[in-house]
Symmetry: C2
Subunit: 338 residues, 2 copies
DNA sequence: TTGAAAGCGTTACCAA
DNA sequence: TTGGTAACGCTTTCAA
């Protein structure tokens, strides 16, 4: 069987010849429409369309240094929490004419750094979600390529993060209102900035409300990690458990249940993230919710702005969006049994 | 505040000058190590490393026509079912030196086609997951760029799909063993090839085992869709419900529960996919499981092979991997109550 | 407003 | 085994 060579793609030169103008005019007519005569422009555009011309991203990138590609790097693609972020970022990337590449760091700072270095030559900028990198590394990267952080704040770097201070206040007040006096916090990975914020916020709010909180951990921010953590929580005797995230909360829930501990009758459980599943686990989970899809969109917008205006990268006060959070009260929290 | 220009990246020419060889030699030493003298090669590689040389993907792509980028297009990025697929594909892409871009078609065939056309100039090939496109369109695309289908089979196109025939057999035999005689199937989107396979497999197996199965739908393949479908299922009076996927099964579960129908005492429920949450919904769901992460890896391997060997694209019998499936029996299925 | 031509960084072909 | 050089397709000066 003989092979018919793939048709050579239509180039700007083909369009130029067909339209009877110079290649540079075609280029302008297509990407700088204002800088060309109306009739010429429309003629060129028609010819281009008729010939099925598709600009070569590689050639364009080589000339301009812009790839029209954005990278989204996450510690764990499979955490349902990130699904909304991915979707929001992808949508907005598409809306702004960009392609979104995805990177998974598997919860490892080293892998995250490698990923950024690997992707750097191919993308215009980075969205770092729940970055496990040390501040210094992030600052260093953001000097090379535009960076927008999601779920993390670092001085001088643009970011979008949920309001953990207000969120933890909501959690603590909810528990206090239910009569709880002793709670424990199941900590996630030490590299999690959000985890640090959560603990800090909980401690501060607890102090104000005379709630005693102990911190246990760190644990892996997964269902398995929560299962393990649930074991330790049992020993403490607190009436409320606040888990680093919903994954852990769900794991802990299973552990408690398997030990015959009733939630919320014996122990109340609170998570963070309001992930898929938080509303149908048993019992449905009280959790702090934030709008991840919106965060993804905003982050892309910020990143695109940075990319378009790299010259002002230094000296500018970077945007820091702090997004509102809402406590979603479900059946995993209840009044303390007397 | 003055702006310090970003340092001009190190090019192959810089390396050549520093190493005292020609640019073409540098190129070879780096990408075709065999075609260059050992000492020269090592010298060049050292110099390149010392200078921190990073090849320009754009320049390389322009020269070779290869972008080292693969696209993964999915109908719904947020469906937890796809998390494993994404992760497997991303891992294997990285392992084979590729970048993975992601596209979301939002369950729309038109959006999927647009996505493919938009991405085509930027990638070496496509992974189409649970594609909603008509066969003809897929064949057409695969003539332009290498395509590997996941969760779909189309004659003459390479694919990886779970064995639905065997899977549905397992489901039907499980239900029959529990004494069920009447079941209903809650159908998903008509464009879902897997949905078609599921219905076909169920019908065939049911016939062999004298199980009566009615088909209801189509419904949206989501929790909300399942909630709606649950309503309709109630009216039927069957003792078993097989949902198009776990999302729908979970939705239907909630609906039945809210109507006071006990699962599995009154009705048994079976899903497909074994997604995150299937093990902790209430009751935990009996569902047909397949290895999505493995599928993602295999699909990337197949795609990379196609890309590397485009010349044999026509005339070759394409690979069709049919992966095993396993019924995971949990508490949502039980014996028929007499 | 348009055209001509010089890059952009690699690869690949052809000589040497 | 190496070097010289012409692409690759587009953008962007610089002139006209």
């Amino acid at each position: 069987m003989t092979r018919n060579d793939p048709p050579r793609p239509v180039t700007i030169i083909d369009v130029a010849r067909e339209a009877g103008v110079a290649p540079s005019t075609v280029s302008r007519a297509l990407s700088n429409p204002d800088r060309v005569n109306v009739v010429t422009r429309e003629h060129v555009q028609q010819v281009a369309a008729r010939l099925g011309y598709r600009p070569s991203p590689a050639a364009r990138a080589l000339g301009t240094g812009r790839t029209s590609t954005l990278a989204l790097v996450l510690p764990d693609i499979t955490n349902p929490y990130f699904a909304g972020l991915i979707r929001g970022a992808e949508r907005q990337a598409e809306a702004t004419g960009h392609i979104l590449v995805i990177g998974n760091s598997e919860e490892s700072a080293r892998a995250e750094a490698r990923m950024v270095e690997r992707l750097a030559p191919s993308v215009d900028g980075f969205l770092l979600g729940s970055s496990r990198l040390p501040d210094a590394k992030i600052v260093q990267f953001s000097a090379m390529r535009p960076v927008v952080l999601v779920n993390r704040r670092v001085p001088s770097v643009t970011s979008v993060s949920p309001d953990q201070q207000d969120g933890t206040r909501q959690i603590v007040e909810h528990l206090v209102a239910l009569g709880h006096q002793r709670a424990i916090f199941l900590a996630g990975p030490p590299q999690s900035w959000l985890g640090g914020q959560r603990w800090a916020g909980i401690s501060a709010a607890a102090r104000r409300h005379h709630l005693t909180v102990r911190r246990l951990g760190p644990y892996a921010p997964s269902v398995d990690g929560g299962f393990l953590a649930g074991e330790a929580a049992l020993a403490d005797g607190a009436t409320a458990v606040i888990a680093h995230n919903d994954l852990m909360a769900i794991g802990a829930l299973r552990r408690l249940r398997s030990r015959g501990v009733s939630v919320p009758d014996d122990v109340s459980m609170v998570g963070f993230d309001n992930i898929f599943g938080a509303d149908f686990c048993d019992p449905p989970l009280t959790t702090l919710s934030d709008r991840t899809e919106q965060a993804g969109r905003s982050a892309v917008d910020l990143l695109v702005a940075l990319v378009r205006d790299q010259s002002r990268l230094d000296g500018e006060t970077p945007a820091e969006i702090v997004a509102p959070t809402t406590l979603v009260v479900r059946e995993s929290t209840g009044p303390v049994r007397r």
